[in-house]
Protein backbone atom coordinates (compact mmCIF):
# COMPACT_ATOMS: atom_id res chain seq x y z
CA UNK A 1 0.00 0.00 0.00
CA UNK A 2 1.03 3.62 -0.19
CA UNK A 3 2.53 5.48 -3.06
CA UNK A 4 5.57 4.33 -4.97
CA UNK A 5 7.31 6.27 -7.69
CA UNK A 6 10.10 5.23 -10.00
CA UNK A 7 10.32 7.49 -13.01
CA UNK A 8 12.66 9.25 -15.36
CA UNK A 9 11.99 12.18 -17.61
CA UNK A 10 14.19 14.33 -19.82
CA UNK A 11 13.21 17.97 -20.24
CA UNK A 12 15.72 19.84 -22.37
CA UNK A 13 19.06 19.56 -20.60
CA UNK A 14 17.48 18.61 -17.27
CA UNK A 15 16.93 14.99 -16.48
CA UNK A 16 14.80 13.72 -13.64
CA UNK A 17 15.46 10.34 -12.12
CA UNK A 18 13.34 9.79 -9.06
CA UNK A 19 12.65 6.68 -7.05
CA UNK A 20 10.92 6.56 -3.69
CA UNK A 21 8.03 4.95 -1.85
CA UNK A 22 5.92 6.27 1.00
CA UNK A 23 3.27 4.68 3.21
CA UNK A 24 0.29 6.41 4.73
CA UNK A 25 2.54 9.06 6.17
CA UNK A 26 3.66 12.60 5.60
CA UNK A 27 6.57 12.68 3.20
CA UNK A 28 8.49 15.81 2.29
CA UNK A 29 10.35 16.27 -0.96
CA UNK A 30 13.18 18.62 -0.08
CA UNK A 31 15.85 20.20 -2.23
CA UNK A 32 16.88 23.39 -3.96
CA UNK A 33 14.57 25.04 -6.47
CA UNK A 34 14.83 23.30 -9.81
CA UNK A 35 15.94 19.93 -8.44
CA UNK A 36 12.89 18.12 -9.81
CA UNK A 37 10.60 17.98 -6.76
CA UNK A 38 7.65 19.71 -8.39
CA UNK A 39 8.12 17.78 -11.61
CA UNK A 40 7.85 14.53 -9.66
CA UNK A 41 4.68 15.74 -7.99
CA UNK A 42 3.16 16.70 -11.33
CA UNK A 43 4.03 13.29 -12.72
CA UNK A 44 2.27 11.58 -9.80
CA UNK A 45 -0.84 13.69 -10.47
CA UNK A 46 -0.67 12.87 -14.18
CA UNK A 47 0.02 16.46 -15.24
CA UNK A 48 3.37 15.37 -16.67
CA UNK A 49 3.96 12.09 -18.45
CA UNK A 50 7.34 10.50 -17.61
CA UNK A 51 9.48 8.87 -20.30
CA UNK A 52 9.97 5.66 -18.35
CA UNK A 53 9.13 3.99 -15.07
CA UNK A 54 6.08 3.25 -12.95
CA UNK A 55 3.83 5.05 -10.51
CA UNK A 56 1.68 2.98 -8.22
CA UNK A 57 -0.91 4.06 -5.65
CA UNK A 58 -2.36 1.48 -3.23
CA UNK A 59 -1.59 -1.31 -5.67
CA UNK A 60 -3.14 0.43 -8.65
CA UNK A 61 -0.81 1.26 -11.51
CA UNK A 62 -1.23 4.89 -12.52
CA UNK A 63 1.62 4.97 -14.97
CA UNK A 64 3.68 2.28 -16.57
CA UNK A 65 6.27 3.15 -19.19
CA UNK A 66 6.65 -0.51 -20.22
CA UNK A 67 3.14 -1.09 -21.50
CA UNK A 68 2.36 2.59 -22.05
CA UNK A 69 -0.44 2.66 -19.49
CA UNK A 70 -1.35 6.19 -18.40
CA UNK A 71 -4.33 6.77 -16.12
CA UNK A 72 -5.59 10.28 -16.93
CA UNK A 73 -5.37 12.90 -14.20
CA UNK A 74 -9.11 13.11 -13.60
CA UNK A 75 -9.33 9.38 -12.83
CA UNK A 76 -6.42 9.26 -10.37
CA UNK A 77 -8.18 10.28 -7.14
CA UNK A 78 -5.16 12.30 -6.11
CA UNK A 79 -5.65 15.63 -4.39
CA UNK A 80 -3.28 18.36 -5.53
CA UNK A 81 -2.71 21.71 -3.87
CA UNK A 82 -0.92 24.07 -6.24
CA UNK A 83 1.71 26.57 -5.23
CA UNK A 84 -0.58 29.43 -6.22
CA UNK A 85 -3.55 27.36 -4.92
CA UNK A 86 -5.40 27.71 -8.25
CA UNK A 87 -8.71 28.67 -6.68
CA UNK A 88 -11.31 29.45 -9.31
CA UNK A 89 -11.64 33.24 -9.24
CA UNK A 90 -15.14 33.22 -10.72
CA UNK A 91 -16.55 30.93 -8.04
CA UNK A 92 -17.37 31.61 -4.41
CA UNK A 93 -15.74 29.71 -1.55
CA UNK A 94 -18.69 27.36 -1.43
CA UNK A 95 -18.72 26.83 -5.20
CA UNK A 96 -14.98 26.14 -5.17
CA UNK A 97 -15.39 23.50 -2.49
CA UNK A 98 -18.44 21.93 -4.15
CA UNK A 99 -16.57 21.81 -7.47
CA UNK A 100 -14.10 19.46 -5.79
CA UNK A 101 -16.86 16.99 -4.90
CA UNK A 102 -16.95 15.29 -8.27
CA UNK A 103 -18.61 11.89 -8.28
CA UNK A 104 -20.36 12.49 -4.96
CA UNK A 105 -24.16 12.63 -4.90
CA UNK A 106 -25.57 16.13 -4.69
CA UNK A 107 -26.98 15.76 -1.14
CA UNK A 108 -23.87 14.12 0.19
CA UNK A 109 -21.77 16.81 -1.47
CA UNK A 110 -23.74 19.61 0.22
CA UNK A 111 -23.33 17.87 3.54
CA UNK A 112 -19.61 17.33 3.12
CA UNK A 113 -19.22 20.92 2.01
CA UNK A 114 -20.85 22.12 5.26
CA UNK A 115 -18.49 19.82 7.15
CA UNK A 116 -15.49 21.20 5.31
CA UNK A 117 -16.55 24.80 5.93
CA UNK A 118 -16.77 24.06 9.66
CA UNK A 119 -13.65 21.96 9.76
CA UNK A 120 -11.50 24.53 7.97
CA UNK A 121 -13.01 27.51 9.83
CA UNK A 122 -14.59 29.08 6.77
CA UNK A 123 -18.00 29.74 8.33
CA UNK A 124 -19.38 33.08 7.15
CA UNK A 125 -17.07 33.20 4.14
CA UNK A 126 -19.09 30.78 1.97
CA UNK A 127 -20.24 33.43 -0.47
CA UNK A 128 -17.00 35.35 -0.81
CA UNK A 129 -14.77 35.17 -3.85
CA UNK A 130 -11.15 34.01 -3.42
CA UNK A 131 -9.93 37.55 -4.11
CA UNK A 132 -11.69 38.75 -0.94
CA UNK A 133 -9.96 36.21 1.33
CA UNK A 134 -6.77 36.38 3.35
CA UNK A 135 -3.82 34.15 2.51
CA UNK A 136 -4.61 31.65 5.27
CA UNK A 137 -8.28 31.48 4.34
CA UNK A 138 -7.36 30.80 0.74
CA UNK A 139 -5.09 27.94 1.85
CA UNK A 140 -7.93 26.41 3.80
CA UNK A 141 -10.33 26.69 0.86
CA UNK A 142 -7.77 24.95 -1.36
CA UNK A 143 -7.44 22.13 1.18
CA UNK A 144 -11.21 21.82 1.62
CA UNK A 145 -11.77 21.75 -2.15
CA UNK A 146 -9.18 19.01 -2.55
CA UNK A 147 -10.29 16.89 0.40
CA UNK A 148 -14.07 16.92 -0.12
CA UNK A 149 -13.66 14.10 -2.62
CA UNK A 150 -11.65 12.07 -0.08
CA UNK A 151 -8.69 11.43 -2.37
CA UNK A 152 -6.45 8.41 -1.96
CA UNK A 153 -3.37 10.64 -1.70
CA UNK A 154 -2.69 14.32 -1.20
CA UNK A 155 0.09 16.24 -2.94
CA UNK A 156 1.09 19.79 -2.05
CA UNK A 157 3.48 21.89 -4.13
CA UNK A 158 5.03 24.50 -1.80
CA UNK A 159 1.59 25.63 -0.71
CA UNK A 160 2.73 27.73 2.24
CA UNK A 161 5.54 29.66 0.57
CA UNK A 162 3.47 32.83 0.24
CA UNK A 163 2.44 32.96 3.91
CA UNK A 164 4.18 34.74 6.77
CA UNK A 165 5.81 32.70 9.49
CA UNK A 166 3.05 32.37 12.13
CA UNK A 167 0.48 31.47 9.52
CA UNK A 168 2.82 28.95 7.96
CA UNK A 169 3.21 27.33 11.34
CA UNK A 170 -0.54 27.15 11.77
CA UNK A 171 -0.97 25.57 8.34
CA UNK A 172 1.69 22.96 9.10
CA UNK A 173 -0.26 21.98 12.20
CA UNK A 174 -3.44 21.73 10.19
CA UNK A 175 -1.76 19.57 7.58
CA UNK A 176 -0.43 17.24 10.26
CA UNK A 177 -3.94 16.88 11.66
CA UNK A 178 -5.37 16.17 8.22
CA UNK A 179 -2.80 13.47 7.59
CA UNK A 180 -3.42 11.77 10.93
CA UNK A 181 -7.13 11.81 10.36
CA UNK A 182 -7.21 10.60 6.77
CA UNK A 183 -4.32 8.14 6.94
CA UNK A 184 -3.35 8.58 3.31
CA UNK A 185 0.03 9.32 1.74
CA UNK A 186 0.60 13.08 1.93
CA UNK A 187 3.53 14.41 -0.08
CA UNK A 188 4.68 17.98 0.37
CA UNK A 189 7.25 19.80 -1.73
CA UNK A 190 9.30 22.48 -0.04
CA UNK A 191 12.68 24.16 -0.18
CA UNK A 192 12.28 25.36 3.41
CA UNK A 193 14.42 23.22 5.70
CA UNK A 194 12.52 24.10 8.86
CA UNK A 195 9.29 23.02 7.28
CA UNK A 196 10.86 19.82 5.99
CA UNK A 197 12.34 18.82 9.35
CA UNK A 198 9.26 19.75 11.31
CA UNK A 199 6.71 17.99 9.15
CA UNK A 200 8.33 14.96 7.62
CA UNK A 201 7.79 11.40 8.71
CA UNK A 202 9.88 10.61 5.68
CA UNK A 203 12.34 13.04 4.15
CA UNK A 204 13.15 12.60 0.47
CA UNK A 205 16.16 14.65 -0.58
CA UNK A 206 16.53 15.84 -4.15
CA UNK A 207 19.78 16.98 -5.69
CA UNK A 208 19.94 17.87 -9.40
CA UNK A 209 17.03 15.71 -10.45
CA UNK A 210 18.03 12.67 -8.40
CA UNK A 211 16.93 11.34 -5.05
CA UNK A 212 20.04 11.38 -2.84
CA UNK A 213 18.50 10.04 0.33
CA UNK A 214 15.19 8.81 1.59
CA UNK A 215 14.89 8.44 5.38
CA UNK A 216 13.42 9.92 8.55
CA UNK A 217 14.67 13.45 9.38
CA UNK A 218 16.53 12.02 12.33
CA UNK A 219 18.43 9.54 10.16
CA UNK A 220 19.17 12.18 7.57
CA UNK A 221 20.64 14.51 10.16
CA UNK A 222 22.55 11.73 11.83
CA UNK A 223 23.82 10.03 8.72
CA UNK A 224 23.69 12.17 5.58
CA UNK A 225 24.05 9.84 2.61
CA UNK A 226 26.45 12.10 0.75
CA UNK A 227 28.32 15.36 0.77
CA UNK A 228 25.55 17.06 -1.17
CA UNK A 229 22.98 15.95 1.42
CA UNK A 230 25.19 17.31 4.18
CA UNK A 231 25.38 20.64 2.37
CA UNK A 232 21.65 20.57 1.74
CA UNK A 233 20.76 20.22 5.40
CA UNK A 234 23.64 22.17 6.90
CA UNK A 235 22.50 24.94 9.23
CA UNK A 236 24.78 27.45 7.47
CA UNK A 237 22.22 27.38 4.74
CA UNK A 238 19.88 29.35 6.94
CA UNK A 239 22.21 32.29 7.26
CA UNK A 240 21.63 33.15 3.62
CA UNK A 241 17.91 33.07 4.01
CA UNK A 242 15.36 35.80 4.02
CA UNK A 243 15.80 38.15 6.96
CA UNK A 244 12.08 38.45 7.53
CA UNK A 245 11.90 34.79 8.18
CA UNK A 246 12.15 33.10 11.51
CA UNK A 247 13.77 30.09 9.89
CA UNK A 248 17.17 30.65 11.41
CA UNK A 249 15.89 30.62 14.90
CA UNK A 250 13.63 27.66 14.42
CA UNK A 251 16.19 25.59 12.62
CA UNK A 252 18.68 26.31 15.33
CA UNK A 253 16.18 24.93 17.82
CA UNK A 254 15.05 21.95 15.77
CA UNK A 255 18.36 20.63 14.52
CA UNK A 256 19.83 19.88 17.95
CA UNK A 257 16.61 18.12 18.93
CA UNK A 258 16.82 15.91 15.89
CA UNK A 259 20.46 15.17 16.53
CA UNK A 260 20.08 14.63 20.27
CA UNK A 261 17.17 12.28 19.75
CA UNK A 262 19.12 10.25 17.23
Amino acid sequence: MGLSVSISKKLGTFSLDAEWAVDDELAVLFGYSGSGKSLTLRAVAGLLIPDRGTIELNGQILFSGDDGRVVPTQLRSIGFVFQDLALFPHMTVEENILYGGHGVSSRERQERCRDMVRRFRLTGLEHRRPVDLSGGQRQRVALARTLIRRPAALLLDEPFSALDAPLRREMRGLLREVQRELRIPVVLVTHDLTEALELADMLILYVDGRVEQCATPREVVKQPASGSVRRLISPELFQHRDKHDDNQERAASILPICCAGA
Binding site: A45, T73, A86
Partner: protein
Protein backbone atom coordinates in the same frame (compact mmCIF):
# COMPACT_ATOMS: atom_id res chain seq x y z
CA UNK B 1 -36.75 57.99 -42.58
CA UNK B 2 -37.78 56.45 -45.85
CA UNK B 3 -39.25 52.97 -45.79
CA UNK B 4 -36.46 51.64 -48.03
CA UNK B 5 -33.85 52.94 -45.60
CA UNK B 6 -35.74 51.36 -42.75
CA UNK B 7 -35.88 48.09 -44.66
CA UNK B 8 -32.13 48.19 -45.27
CA UNK B 9 -31.46 48.91 -41.60
CA UNK B 10 -33.68 46.04 -40.50
CA UNK B 11 -32.16 43.67 -43.03
CA UNK B 12 -28.63 44.62 -41.99
CA UNK B 13 -29.41 44.03 -38.32
CA UNK B 14 -31.09 40.73 -39.13
CA UNK B 15 -28.20 39.53 -41.30
CA UNK B 16 -25.60 40.61 -38.75
CA UNK B 17 -27.53 39.03 -35.85
CA UNK B 18 -27.95 35.66 -37.56
CA UNK B 19 -24.32 35.72 -38.72
CA UNK B 20 -23.20 36.51 -35.15
CA UNK B 21 -25.17 33.56 -33.75
CA UNK B 22 -23.50 31.27 -36.29
CA UNK B 23 -20.13 32.82 -35.50
CA UNK B 24 -20.67 32.11 -31.81
CA UNK B 25 -21.61 28.49 -32.47
CA UNK B 26 -18.66 27.85 -34.79
CA UNK B 27 -16.16 30.33 -33.37
CA UNK B 28 -16.01 29.14 -29.76
CA UNK B 29 -15.02 25.53 -30.58
CA UNK B 30 -12.61 26.70 -33.29
CA UNK B 31 -10.99 29.24 -30.96
CA UNK B 32 -10.71 26.62 -28.21
CA UNK B 33 -9.09 24.07 -30.51
CA UNK B 34 -6.66 26.65 -31.84
CA UNK B 35 -5.79 27.81 -28.32
CA UNK B 36 -5.56 24.48 -26.52
CA UNK B 37 -5.65 21.70 -29.05
CA UNK B 38 -2.55 19.93 -30.22
CA UNK B 39 -3.17 18.63 -33.72
CA UNK B 40 -1.48 18.65 -37.07
CA UNK B 41 -2.42 21.48 -39.36
CA UNK B 42 -3.40 23.80 -36.53
CA UNK B 43 -1.67 26.73 -38.16
CA UNK B 44 -3.18 25.84 -41.54
CA UNK B 45 -6.66 26.06 -40.01
CA UNK B 46 -5.71 29.39 -38.45
CA UNK B 47 -4.54 30.76 -41.81
CA UNK B 48 -7.66 29.55 -43.65
CA UNK B 49 -9.95 31.17 -41.11
CA UNK B 50 -7.96 34.40 -41.01
CA UNK B 51 -7.61 34.81 -44.79
CA UNK B 52 -10.95 36.64 -45.31
CA UNK B 53 -9.63 39.30 -42.93
CA UNK B 54 -6.91 40.27 -45.41
CA UNK B 55 -8.24 39.13 -48.79
CA UNK B 56 -10.09 41.70 -50.89
CA UNK B 57 -13.79 41.05 -50.13
CA UNK B 58 -14.30 40.51 -53.85
CA UNK B 59 -11.91 37.56 -53.74
CA UNK B 60 -13.74 36.10 -50.75
CA UNK B 61 -17.02 36.69 -52.57
CA UNK B 62 -15.72 35.03 -55.70
CA UNK B 63 -14.51 31.99 -53.75
CA UNK B 64 -17.91 31.74 -52.09
CA UNK B 65 -19.59 31.78 -55.51
CA UNK B 66 -17.26 28.98 -56.63
CA UNK B 67 -18.36 27.03 -53.55
CA UNK B 68 -22.02 27.95 -53.23
CA UNK B 69 -23.11 29.12 -56.68
CA UNK B 70 -25.67 27.27 -58.76
CA UNK B 71 -22.80 25.44 -60.47
CA UNK B 72 -20.63 25.48 -57.40
CA UNK B 73 -19.11 22.57 -55.56
CA UNK B 74 -21.63 22.59 -52.71
CA UNK B 75 -24.24 24.91 -54.22
CA UNK B 76 -24.52 22.78 -57.38
CA UNK B 77 -25.41 19.64 -55.46
CA UNK B 78 -27.88 21.54 -53.30
CA UNK B 79 -29.51 23.03 -56.43
CA UNK B 80 -29.82 19.65 -58.15
CA UNK B 81 -31.43 18.08 -55.08
CA UNK B 82 -33.72 20.86 -53.94
CA UNK B 83 -33.95 23.33 -56.81
CA UNK B 84 -32.99 26.06 -54.37
CA UNK B 85 -29.93 28.20 -54.59
CA UNK B 86 -28.66 30.47 -51.89
CA UNK B 87 -27.42 33.00 -54.44
CA UNK B 88 -29.18 36.39 -54.31
CA UNK B 89 -31.04 35.70 -51.06
CA UNK B 90 -30.62 37.31 -47.65
CA UNK B 91 -29.17 34.02 -46.42
CA UNK B 92 -26.31 34.57 -48.87
CA UNK B 93 -25.63 37.86 -47.13
CA UNK B 94 -25.50 35.93 -43.84
CA UNK B 95 -22.94 33.51 -45.26
CA UNK B 96 -20.78 36.32 -46.62
CA UNK B 97 -20.91 38.18 -43.29
CA UNK B 98 -20.16 34.97 -41.40
CA UNK B 99 -17.03 34.19 -43.40
CA UNK B 100 -15.70 37.72 -43.30
CA UNK B 101 -16.42 38.39 -39.60
CA UNK B 102 -15.52 34.96 -38.17
CA UNK B 103 -11.75 35.64 -37.96
CA UNK B 104 -12.29 38.70 -35.74
CA UNK B 105 -14.17 36.57 -33.22
CA UNK B 106 -11.77 33.61 -33.43
CA UNK B 107 -8.67 35.79 -32.96
CA UNK B 108 -10.10 37.61 -29.95
CA UNK B 109 -11.56 34.49 -28.34
CA UNK B 110 -8.39 32.47 -28.94
CA UNK B 111 -6.32 35.14 -27.20
CA UNK B 112 -8.75 35.20 -24.26
CA UNK B 113 -8.73 31.40 -23.92
CA UNK B 114 -4.93 31.33 -24.07
CA UNK B 115 -4.70 33.72 -21.13
CA UNK B 116 -6.71 31.43 -18.84
CA UNK B 117 -4.26 30.22 -16.20
CA UNK B 118 -3.03 26.73 -17.05
CA UNK B 119 -2.99 25.85 -13.35
CA UNK B 120 -6.75 26.37 -13.08
CA UNK B 121 -7.31 23.89 -15.89
CA UNK B 122 -4.91 21.42 -14.29
CA UNK B 123 -6.63 21.95 -10.93
CA UNK B 124 -9.98 21.06 -12.48
CA UNK B 125 -8.50 17.81 -13.81
CA UNK B 126 -7.01 16.89 -10.42
CA UNK B 127 -10.49 17.44 -8.94
CA UNK B 128 -11.79 14.68 -11.21
CA UNK B 129 -13.34 16.69 -14.03
CA UNK B 130 -13.15 15.83 -17.73
CA UNK B 131 -11.77 18.25 -20.28
CA UNK B 132 -15.23 19.06 -21.63
CA UNK B 133 -16.61 19.86 -18.18
CA UNK B 134 -13.53 21.95 -17.45
CA UNK B 135 -14.14 23.92 -20.64
CA UNK B 136 -17.76 24.57 -19.68
CA UNK B 137 -17.19 25.43 -16.02
CA UNK B 138 -13.71 26.96 -15.97
CA UNK B 139 -12.14 27.89 -19.31
CA UNK B 140 -15.09 29.52 -21.06
CA UNK B 141 -16.42 31.42 -18.02
CA UNK B 142 -12.96 32.87 -17.45
CA UNK B 143 -12.55 33.75 -21.13
CA UNK B 144 -16.12 35.05 -21.27
CA UNK B 145 -15.34 38.74 -21.60
CA UNK B 146 -12.90 38.16 -24.44
CA UNK B 147 -15.41 35.94 -26.21
CA UNK B 148 -18.17 38.55 -25.88
CA UNK B 149 -15.79 41.28 -27.04
CA UNK B 150 -14.99 39.13 -30.09
CA UNK B 151 -18.69 38.65 -30.79
CA UNK B 152 -19.37 42.38 -30.61
CA UNK B 153 -16.51 43.06 -33.02
CA UNK B 154 -17.78 40.34 -35.34
CA UNK B 155 -21.29 41.81 -35.18
CA UNK B 156 -19.95 45.25 -36.12
CA UNK B 157 -17.94 43.76 -38.99
CA UNK B 158 -20.92 41.71 -40.20
CA UNK B 159 -23.08 44.82 -40.14
CA UNK B 160 -20.62 46.61 -42.40
CA UNK B 161 -20.02 43.74 -44.83
CA UNK B 162 -20.18 44.98 -48.44
CA UNK B 163 -17.95 43.38 -51.03
CA UNK B 164 -18.53 39.69 -50.56
CA UNK B 165 -22.21 40.33 -49.84
CA UNK B 166 -22.64 42.23 -53.09
CA UNK B 167 -21.10 39.39 -55.08
CA UNK B 168 -23.04 36.64 -53.36
CA UNK B 169 -26.39 38.28 -52.60
CA UNK B 170 -26.42 41.04 -55.19
CA UNK B 171 -28.23 44.34 -54.88
CA UNK B 172 -31.93 43.53 -55.12
CA UNK B 173 -33.90 46.44 -53.64
CA UNK B 174 -36.35 45.24 -51.01
CA UNK B 175 -34.63 41.85 -50.81
CA UNK B 176 -30.88 41.91 -50.42
CA UNK B 177 -29.93 45.57 -50.21
CA UNK B 178 -28.35 45.75 -46.77
CA UNK B 179 -27.35 49.18 -45.48
CA UNK B 180 -23.84 49.25 -46.93
CA UNK B 181 -25.24 48.25 -50.33
CA UNK B 182 -28.14 50.71 -50.17
CA UNK B 183 -25.59 53.31 -49.11
CA UNK B 184 -23.49 52.61 -52.19
CA UNK B 185 -26.56 52.83 -54.40
CA UNK B 186 -27.64 56.10 -52.77
CA UNK B 187 -24.23 57.69 -53.19
CA UNK B 188 -23.91 56.45 -56.77
CA UNK B 189 -27.32 57.85 -57.73
CA UNK B 190 -26.73 61.21 -56.02
CA UNK B 191 -29.29 60.68 -53.23
CA UNK B 192 -27.38 62.82 -50.72
CA UNK B 193 -30.03 63.01 -48.00
CA UNK B 194 -30.60 59.25 -47.97
CA UNK B 195 -26.86 58.66 -47.86
CA UNK B 196 -26.41 61.13 -45.01
CA UNK B 197 -29.02 59.46 -42.82
CA UNK B 198 -27.43 56.06 -43.38
CA UNK B 199 -23.92 57.35 -42.72
CA UNK B 200 -25.04 58.83 -39.39
CA UNK B 201 -26.87 55.67 -38.36
CA UNK B 202 -24.00 53.46 -39.34
CA UNK B 203 -21.33 55.50 -37.65
CA UNK B 204 -23.35 55.59 -34.43
CA UNK B 205 -24.01 51.83 -34.35
CA UNK B 206 -20.45 50.85 -35.27
CA UNK B 207 -18.95 53.34 -32.84
CA UNK B 208 -21.10 51.95 -30.03
CA UNK B 209 -19.98 48.41 -30.90
CA UNK B 210 -16.31 49.35 -30.83
CA UNK B 211 -16.74 51.17 -27.53
CA UNK B 212 -18.43 48.09 -26.03
CA UNK B 213 -15.75 45.75 -27.39
CA UNK B 214 -12.99 47.93 -25.94
CA UNK B 215 -14.59 48.09 -22.53
CA UNK B 216 -15.15 44.34 -22.48
CA UNK B 217 -11.64 43.63 -23.71
CA UNK B 218 -9.97 45.88 -21.18
CA UNK B 219 -11.59 44.30 -18.17
CA UNK B 220 -10.75 40.73 -19.07
CA UNK B 221 -9.75 39.21 -15.76
Amino acid sequence: MESSTLFSLRLSLQVAAVATILIFAAGVPIAYLLARGVFRGREVVDVLITLPLVLPPTVTGYLLIVLLGRNGIIGGTLYRWTGWSIMFTWQAAVIASFVVALPLMVKTARAAIETVDRNLIDASATLGHSELWTVVRVTLPLAQRGIVAGLVLAFARALGEFGATLMLAGNIPGRTDTMPIAMYAAAASGDRSGANVMVLLFTAISGACLYAANRLGRRTA
